[in-house]
Symmetry: C3
Subunit: 424 residues, 3 copies
Amino acid sequence: MRDTVDIQELVERRESYRSLEAPFYNSPDIFALDIEAIFGRNWIFVAVEPELPEPGDCVTVEVGGASILLLRGDDEEIRGFHNVCRHRGAKLVDEKSTTIGNIVCRYHGWTYNEDGELILAEHMGKDFDKSCHGLRPVHVRSVAGLVFICLAKEAPGDIEDLAKTMEPYLLPHDIRNCKVAFQSDLIEEGNWKLTLENNRECYHCEGNHPQLTVPLSEFGFGFSPDEVDERRSADVAKYAEDVKANHARWESCGLPSAEEEHLSNVTGFRTMRLPLMWEGESHTLDTKVASKKLLGDFTDAKLGGLSFWTHPNSWHHFMSDHVVTFSVLPLSADRTLVRTTWLVHKDAIEGQDYNLDNLTQVWTYTNQQDADLVRLAQLGTRQPAYRPGPYSQFTEPHVEAFCAWYIARLGDHFAKPNAQMAAE
Amino acid sequence: MRDTVDIQELVERRESYRSLEAPFYNSPDIFALDIEAIFGRNWIFVAVEPELPEPGDCVTVEVGGASILLLRGDDEEIRGFHNVCRHRGAKLVDEKSTTIGNIVCRYHGWTYNEDGELILAEHMGKDFDKSCHGLRPVHVRSVAGLVFICLAKEAPGDIEDLAKTMEPYLLPHDIRNCKVAFQSDLIEEGNWKLTLENNRECYHCEGNHPQLTVPLSEFGFGFSPDEVDERRSADVAKYAEDVKANHARWESCGLPSAEEEHLSNVTGFRTMRLPLMWEGESHTLDTKVASKKLLGDFTDAKLGGLSFWTHPNSWHHFMSDHVVTFSVLPLSADRTLVRTTWLVHKDAIEGQDYNLDNLTQVWTYTNQQDADLVRLAQLGTRQPAYRPGPYSQFTEPHVEAFCAWYIARLGDHFAKPNAQMAAE
Amino acid sequence: MRDTVDIQELVERRESYRSLEAPFYNSPDIFALDIEAIFGRNWIFVAVEPELPEPGDCVTVEVGGASILLLRGDDEEIRGFHNVCRHRGAKLVDEKSTTIGNIVCRYHGWTYNEDGELILAEHMGKDFDKSCHGLRPVHVRSVAGLVFICLAKEAPGDIEDLAKTMEPYLLPHDIRNCKVAFQSDLIEEGNWKLTLENNRECYHCEGNHPQLTVPLSEFGFGFSPDEVDERRSADVAKYAEDVKANHARWESCGLPSAEEEHLSNVTGFRTMRLPLMWEGESHTLDTKVASKKLLGDFTDAKLGGLSFWTHPNSWHHFMSDHVVTFSVLPLSADRTLVRTTWLVHKDAIEGQDYNLDNLTQVWTYTNQQDADLVRLAQLGTRQPAYRPGPYSQFTEPHVEAFCAWYIARLGDHFAKPNAQMAAE
């Protein structure tokens, strides 16, 4: 049905360092392609382990049209299945989060065990072979407690490169010994790629994120060197020294701080550790830690912020006292779910060690501000006068990296369209 | 526009005793085909005569995209017309139910009589021929008070077989001397075929319908013989005896009780009389009659339940004291209206002979439970992991009969696509 | 994507003096064509000058998919631009009406002056050419204070004929010295052409607009001569004399009163001055002026009503004391915005010179009545039984003129499809 020839031409003629042509943000056909070729083939960040800490804990997530059930088994492993009964197709677990024994379909009682095997199906007669009717599995990979899934038959192998590189950065924050303090679901009125593009630059931060930028340097996210006069030139040099000193301090605490950029990998990612300026400790309105109970073995609150971005759908900020993760889940060509999860030490007590408002305010404001920008961008890209515009090489290189990655994945898809999902 | 080749292939490759492929539940193209080939060609149950008891009484129903006006004339006959003015196409009667003299268009006053003839059209000039601008009629057939319509130019003739077979079963309940005690419109979030499939089996009843199943035997709706152990085998035998005894009793009262199954007719139908267990008289929470004023000439409250199902869109339950009818009207690929009508004797007085809550509770609960199951089924069938699953030969043969009938009708349509509606 | 061949056939086979075939009212493809070929090429009435009286005043309007920003510059000229940033396409002005200095994009601060020139874009590097990134302009033409825009590259030149003909009619009402007393946005549940067709006849008025018709003669909007009996024949003659006497009086005051009909021009229009009957002065419930402060240099309240209609999207009524303008803006195949603006003398004081309820009541009622008729018409035209019906040559010639104009424009479009919008 979908006019793949036209889309292929759009993919081929994409100009680098320019925003995408309008159909990439508006066309239901390209949205369907994104779900198939991007969200159906790549590693997608969907949850954190503290969302299902105990055996029997189960969460469901909607990735494109697919509902996926994640279940922690008695062996502590997290398994993933398509959330669809093999009898008449009913959705099995309707709740976003629950605790179960076996997986029982409400419709006619068909029952699956934690390995997805059908173990009970009444009235099907003695010739019915239960072993052919198990749940369809999906790939699950937890990286230091961040849960990624892949719906493809064969998942990209380079998730292991990501894991190997990132674990030294992430493990000190000890996500598995965190708890979910809060989770918010915000629907942005824009295409998921506008959500991502917006996330991949801080060019818009100064004018739009007064709360977020309090402890951030204006030089932390790129700038045009020819706009730096003598006075600011001194500021730039001072900032560079400051960063250097911080890096030395972090490394001495065993915290790796080198920037890692692997954005053209199939499982593309990037990480960077940035100082929080002045007396800044964390992303709160007063820039002090939100939770008195620091993560892992940390004793120093002033560890700056570690950021971690993955293609195609996540970003994460790790501080000494809390972690914030963001999972982007497309709903339609012009609607996108941004799920934000705040994690604190599992022993931190609300009202005593941390206050929920204080913990969540900066990103609650920032998410809403971003949602408004994404809405304005979507409103613009759907207009007849919209044409791809230029990205700044100084402040928008990671927007370009995201678009280039996206276009490369569509290119892969057209080159090899028949890589099918595991459910086939 | 619609890709008929693809749909034809889906029709041809349908495997028996398996649920349909996903596009049958999700595709807007197949939905449009259903409206044309199923709801545009077959007899559709839309109302009961007590909804329009007097001359001038008028009801409107929406069947697919068509609004149909039913009007009882001075000669007591019910006629049906497309509810569209022949001038500039305005909808004529906007209300669901009203009483009128002639049919007057609000827009410019064009007026039609009860035969649909245009009798007044101002300002059209002396050369204007009113006789060419009458309302477009639809076929109407009342079977013992159950009103069926057909939008096709030529309606399937075998409605007469249905009438002949069913009237002996239905007439004793004397629908024409009933009144509508209550009517509810429930929108199910699923394809109309999932609503029908759900209705055509009681495999799901035990786990989902605690109110409905109180007076029903678990053996009344099929079971796998190899799952019956010795103890239950005795129960089965006892139930069979019980049914046999009841049949004899019913026949002695002049109530036919043989099961009639004509599900592969174009106008397919089935009827069955089932005992209500223990002291059961009717479908109420306490299983006693809801209305003291029994229907027709009945004097015995304990007549069990007569069920009647028609392809493609209705089912009905007749008890000694009340009747419940269900009309299924598709709204879109994933939304379906279920209209439920409760009938009691026209002389029964609310609050005295019957209590409305008591009358309607069982099916209000049951409808909502079914709506939830249909929603879960729809959510599953729209997922990429959905594949047609197996029906039980013991508990789901009538689901299979419905699907086979549906597929046969689409086959007929592709063989003879130009049978046009009367309005052409 | 759009099946232009089918649409072309529909255009070619349109029968005159019959309503359009159903797809013209329902098809999303034809809706997209309407936006491109009608609203993308013709002069569209979108605002009145009093909506942006001062330099820096800005209003935005949505025409089809395009958001257009109108800005009054320091030189008092009104300019129009596509409301889309040339960087990453964000909508620039989100408000319906505001006052600004330069046009600043909220996203990354790109700044444009009142000529649409990009004057600030940070971080773009020294090789970036701002002069290539100005806002895309649209044509703007104010006719006596009524603001028309055209999104096409080349706007139809015959707007000048309209201006030349209409200015002598309009200028005496002195719109530029009016103020907006009230503006209402009403969404009609119908295709924009049904809104226009409804506006182009008063055949429906007597049965539907009790408030509007108080000061109107039943003979003012056409009638079938063969339905006029002897008594009414005398009334007709008396009405004709009355009109003639009024025309003489208006001309003597310098108010042109000849009917002008140029409905087959590309920029088609028509105007007519009608007496208000009996003691009628204005369109209010008591038919007296709503505002004591008469417009322009008027001293006589009893000037009747001047009506002005333009293809494809406006109508206007001018009285001695106030003006009402209507702008029709399509939202989707079956939803249309009708924006109504009431103007009074800029020095009139609310509560003293006029009462807002009294000023707006007649058209608030009438708009709602029309919206209901348009809804019924849309409900009818989407039904399978709908067929184009006949227009009255006596009461619906201007409905025919509108449809003929519309069909001619689509014909032009198919003959010369590549006339592109200015933004290209």
